[in-house]
Amino acid sequence: MAPSTLSAAFLIARKDLAIEFRTRTAFFSAAVFALLGIVIFYFAWDPTAVASIDLAPGVLWAIFTFSGLLGLQRSFGIEQADRAIDALLGAPITRESIYLGKAMANLVFVAAVQVIAIPAVQLFYGVPLLENAALLALIALLAAIGLVAVGTLFSAMAVNTKLAEMLLPVLSLLFFVPVVIPAAQATARLIAGRPGSEIVGWLKLLVAFDIVFVAACTLAFPFTIEE
């Protein structure tokens, strides 16, 4: 009895995470990249002109998107290396389960980078990010789902093109715009201690994006692999 879509997705996600845990190359480079970015951004601004409380949310989300791309880049790279993707395609599992499995692993990857980057921003910028940890975690999760939904699909497409490494950021960053704007705006209001009602609208936008693009990308994925 072949596994269901969800259990096959879990198997694939666990496999991806096991590979990442063994090699750790992508995670370390993404984490170092994120920390470096946070530090460099600090010196790119004049702290007497721009308060760090205004700067921090933008830095946080710009860094997430870029470091997330490092993980996404690898996602289908490991499948392509020895054509392991053919083994997945030859298994009696649904195509959707491959997409969902890869996406779940990427979500864990992005979340792990966030766990390092958020305290770093709090430390270096002296902003109260962790005071509202639960709400911040919600924003981060909703945003990460959106980034990963689109990024995983584009990762599957980019590996089959001539421009592999360049095409993924070009395509992904555009689609990250409606994720980064609400996430950064919500984060900014959170650390400014604004009432929750000012954040709700942004959260709704993130939820809507997640629903639409998780559904659309899951439907589109089977078309990205050979038919």
Partner: protein, 233 residues
Amino acid sequence: MITAQGLSRRFGGRTAVHDVTFSLAAGDVLAIFGPNGAGKTTLLRMLAGLLKPSEGTGSVAGVALPGGAELRAAIGYISHASMLYGALSARENIELAAKLFGVRDPRGISTRALERMELHDRADTPVRLLSRGMQQRVSIARATVHDPLVVLLDEPFTGLDDSGSAALGAHLAMLRATGTTLVLVTHSIAEGLALATHAAIMRDGALVRLEKGEAIDPATYLTVYREHVTHGA
């Protein structure tokens, strides 16, 4: 076990496989020879359910092409690429396949497969550290972990040394003995004929010659092959 009736496949406007017809019973071994670009891989991928035929019909293990999960569950697919994850061990690779194929007792099955392939002492080494020959054995174990009725092989001898080729040949003979149907795509005539009950030559997407075991004379087949491949080219 396998039938193909006028199978064709086009990519955009290019025809990769044109009007291929044959049928195989359980335990038959079809060796398909042909130069690069003859459409051998495309044909194999259609039989594996990885590509939709543009025209024609076919069935594998009683499932019509391009079958879904049911078809894929009956097939093992092996190619010159290992289709393994280099960072994972042989055991992990085989166990993952066992789970994805929904095999009962994946752990036990993998252990037995490792023993059968004489890999048990390297079972926990990451696959990327194994020799090409060993990787190919892991590949076979991975592809046959669900006891498929049909095994499709795309240039499996590529990159193997003599002892590796001999070992692979022995494993394939073992599969044949258990009644597994094999389709073997290769350009190495000797290794293909050693196993084949049927032999075919493919050129420009079409089967230009197909014959049964008794009719094949290994001594002259290479000459026959050269004639067909260079003819009209």
